[in-house]
């Protein structure tokens, strides 16, 4: 993105007329939305409405699902259609990192967990790796807690620490975009606050898309919020606007908790 101007913010991810199916069952209907560079976009909506599905379409993790297929439309990242047959999913996923709902560090040391993405790219020089570990763990606000035990298993950490380790791991490949699927759903309020703080600080360098069921969280961390219902994008706007004065009745019902 060398020739990009910093202002005005341009859409880094653009979804247009997107239909998506699991076998015969349609999961997403005609989605159109832009997610801008260095912004945090929150996906909200009742369970089963397709938030995770859309998120996993952005880094093509849905390719792993046997029956999944696209009906219509496209998703562009940085102007390139990611479902173009010439696109290498390996390269795409290096640009678009993902943090999962349930923290899933590998059964390896903390150190090896962080640099996994570098190792698979064939980077094995110790100074480079050391530097990356420190940078990423600091970036994920975990450095001070684990710097003395980098050799212990990633699984020996607490749930909140594990989730931040997964974020550090995702940062190591230096993606442009971070997709987070309910990253705090298994964390206590203290750990959640830490991750939210982290998201705030990451915003300067990354474009973030986060799925959450927690309205306060969406309000706290995001710039834009998108409300989904039954596979459709109902409303998307600046977070303040959505929470203060939603235009759509369903949106209002959902965020005020009156939703059936």
């Amino acid at each position: 993105m060398a020739n990009d101007k910093p202002e005005p913010k341009r859409p880094l991810i653009r979804v247009s007329d997107f239909d998506f199916y699991y076998g015969e069952k349609q999961a997403l209907f005609d989605i159109n939305m832009d997610m801008k560079e260095n912004e945090v976009t929150a996906f909200i909506g009742p369970s089963g409405c397709g938030k995770s599905t859309l998120l996993r379409c952005i880094n093509r993790m849905n390719d792993l699902v046997e029956v999944a297929r696209i009906g219509r439309g496209k998703i562009e990242v940085n102007g390139a259609d990611i479902y173009d047959p010439r696109v290498d999913t390996i390269e795409l996923r290096k640009r678009v990192g993902m943090v999962f709902q349930k923290s899933n560090p590998f059964p390896k040391s903390i150190y090896e967990n962080v640099i996994y993405g570098l190792r698979i790219q064939g980077i094995n020089k110790k100074p480079v790796l050391d530097e990356a570990v420190e940078r990423c763990l600091k970036g994920a606000a975990l450095w001070d807690e684990v710097k003395d035990r980098l050799d212990t298993s990633g699984l020996s950490l607490s749930g909140g620490q594990q989730q931040r380790l997964c974020i550090a791991r995702a940062l190591a490949v230096e993606p442009d975009i971070l997709l987070m699927d309910e990253p705090c759903s298994a964390l206590d309020p203290v750990a959640t606050a830490k991750v939210e703080e982290l998201i705030h600080s990451l915003k300067n360098d990354y474009t973030i898309v986060i799925v959450t069921h927690n309205m306060q969280q969406a309000a706290r961390v995001s710039d834009k919020t998108a409300f989904f219902y039954l596979g459709k994008l109902i409303e998307m706007a600046k977070t303040d606007e959505i929470f203060m004065s939603p235009k759509n009745e369903q949106t209002e019902a959902y965020i005020s908790g009156r939703f059936g």
Binding site: L64, E66, I90, L92, N104, F106, K108, I120
Partner: protein, 530 residues
């Protein structure tokens, strides 16, 4: 709601039906506990039975080895060793002549011409053979004495036992009629020992003769063969030098030296010979069988591990559902083939195929090919691999399947390829499961009987590992094979019978060890997964 229903709602006693006065939970517990108990009892009975039948072995074996020594058979054995290394020399000499004969035939010489060529040194060979006659005659004579002594002793012991049995039954008259000679083994040993000066004299003459003959070696006129002649001279002189060793061993030998349990034990565990039904002396050394089993199992594992584990990885990580639905049941089906059918296939088809294939031009670069044997450790190993693959495949696939999907997703989401994900995450995470799958496959192979009995060639000999790769193409015998082959023909309670039980015991302990290791590894694996 009626009043009655209301009170019933707060009746917290179990309403479920009782079986034999137990509620459902207790009944289930009893059922499964009972099953477990039965298995434990059966296992204990098997162990006990094996121990009981095998137990008398070492005592009996010690007794036999003692008799072997007291009767002087051991003494004669030393002389036999010397005599047979002399025979080796003769064989070497004759092989030179044989090689020369083939060479001449290839050159197109007629029979009589070739014969004339060979005649120039044939006399030398005959002279050399003649030198050895006094030695072999003497050894034969001594052997007769020792065997005679041993047989008389055993016979008299049998009569004595018979008489005692009669006495115990109160049939004194009949007992009195049973004649029991008192065999004094030391008399016979004395005879052997008395001959020692004669033996020394024979040895001296032999040594002198060898030195005289080899100082004037005939020349053949073919460089390669003359080199061999020189080598023969070296070997012959080495033999002369070794004679003294035999002589001191004979002098130091003591018929009354004690034979401890340790000797019997060592002779079983480290014994290089398994010889049964011999007129001279039976030996029960497990080493040839143990190494045979191990060799066959190793060949099988070298083939089965990559195939089994590879197939498991492929099916779990790469294959399409259609491939999975075809390959998985197919591999598992192999384990349904009766082992006797696989063994039959090995004899009828595979063994012959290997033998023929070894003669193909592409193998002509290897000097161990073509092989002459049809049934070898390799044949049996290949077929056993076929039987181990389903075990390894199924268990390894389970282990791989147990790797949480989240690991795979995380790795792929980082931009790892499928291969990288498999090699760096899936395999290391399931490694202990894979190792225990391999161990259990090994257990399956080492315990397999029918295939090795039919296809391993059944030659009781420690494989000669100095031959390198050719070792794999030698016939071997195995622990399982020998039990199956010999147990049917032995007399209940005889030492041979007990020896076979000891072999069974070794197998049993080996299986226990393998299972124990496999379980330990799996346990460790579960802990590391937290």
């Amino acid at each position: 709601m009626t009043k009655e229903a209301e009170t019933n709602r707060y009746d917290l006693h179990s309403r479920s039906r009782r079986i034999l006065g137990l509620d459902k939970d207790q009944a289930l517990k009893g059922l499964f506990g009972g099953n477990a108990l039965v298995s434990i009892i059966v296992l204990a009975l098997i162990t006990f039975f094996l121990f009981k039948e095998g137990a008398g072995f070492f005592g009996q074996y010690r007794h036999e080895i003692e008799l072997y020594r007291r009767s002087g058979l051991e003494y004669v054995e030393i002389m036999k060793e010397e005599s047979s290394s002399y025979t080796e020399l003769n064989r070497y000499l004759n092989s030179i002549k044989g090689e020369h004969a083939t060479m001449l035939k290839e050159q197109g010489l007629s029979f009589s011409e070739a014969k004339a060529e060979l005649a120039s040194y044939e006399d030398f060979i005959y002279d050399f053979e003649d030198l050895g006659y006094p030695l072999s005659e003497y050894v034969l004579e001594m052997n007769e004495i020792a065997i005679g002594a041993r047989d008389m002793y055993v016979e008299s012991a049998n009569y004595r036992e018979h008489r005692e049995n009669l006495l115990a039954l109160g049939r004194d008259e009949e007992a009195a009629e049973v004649e029991v000679l008192d065999v004094d083994l030391s008399l016979f040993v004395g005879m052997l020992k008395e001959g020692e000066p004669d033996f020394l004299a024979i040895n001296d003459k032999l040594a002198a003769g060898i030195e005289r003959l080899t100082s004037d070696l005939p020349t053949i006129g073919v460089a390669k063969l003359d080199e061999k002649m020189q080598r023969f001279r070296q070997l012959a002189l080495m033999f002369v030098a070794e004679m003294e060793g035999y002589e001191t061993r004979l002098k130091e030998w003591d018929s009354q030296a004690p034979v401890g349990m340790g000797v019997a034990f060592a002779s079983f565990v480290f014994g290089k010979d398994w010889v049964t039904n011999s007129s001279i002396q039976d030996w029960y050394g497990i080493l040839p069988l143990f190494t045979g089993s191990l060799l066959v199992a190793s060949i099988a594992m070298v083939i089965a591990i990559p195939l089994g584990v590879g197939a498991a990885i492929y099916i779990n990580q790469v294959a399409t559902p259609a491939e999975q639905n075809f390959i998985k049941p197919y591999i598992e089906f192999i384990s349904a083939i009766p082992s006797v059918v696989i063994g039959f296939f090995g004899i009828a088809v595979f063994g012959e195929f290997v033998r023929r294939a070894s003669g193909w031009a592409i193998f002509s670069g290897f000097d161990i090919f073509p092989i002459s044997e049809r049934l070898t450790a390799f044949t049996a190993g290949c077929l056993l691999a076929l039987m181990a693959i389903p075990t390894i495949f199924t268990l390894a696939e389970d282990a791989i399947n147990n790797v949480p999907k989240a690991f795979k997703e995380a790795s792929l989401a980082m931009g790892a390829t499928r291969l990288q994900t498999t090699m760096r995450i899936i395999v290391p995470t399931s490694l202990s499961g894979i190792i225990s799958a391999i161990l259990l496959g090994f257990g399956r192979v080492i315990g397999e009987t029918m295939v090795v009995l039919l296809c391993a060639g059944n030659r009781i000999e420690i494989p000669d590992f100095t031959n390198g790769v050719a070792t794999f193409f030698e016939p071997v015998h195995t622990m399982t094979g020998i039990i199956a082959q010999e147990l049917g023909e032995v007399v209940n309670g005889s030492i041979h019978y007990r020896a076979l039980f000891m072999v069974g015991m070794v197998l049993f302990l080996l299986s226990l060890l393998i299972n124990y290791l496999a379980q330990k590894i799996v346990l460790k694996y579960q802990i590391s997964r937290g």
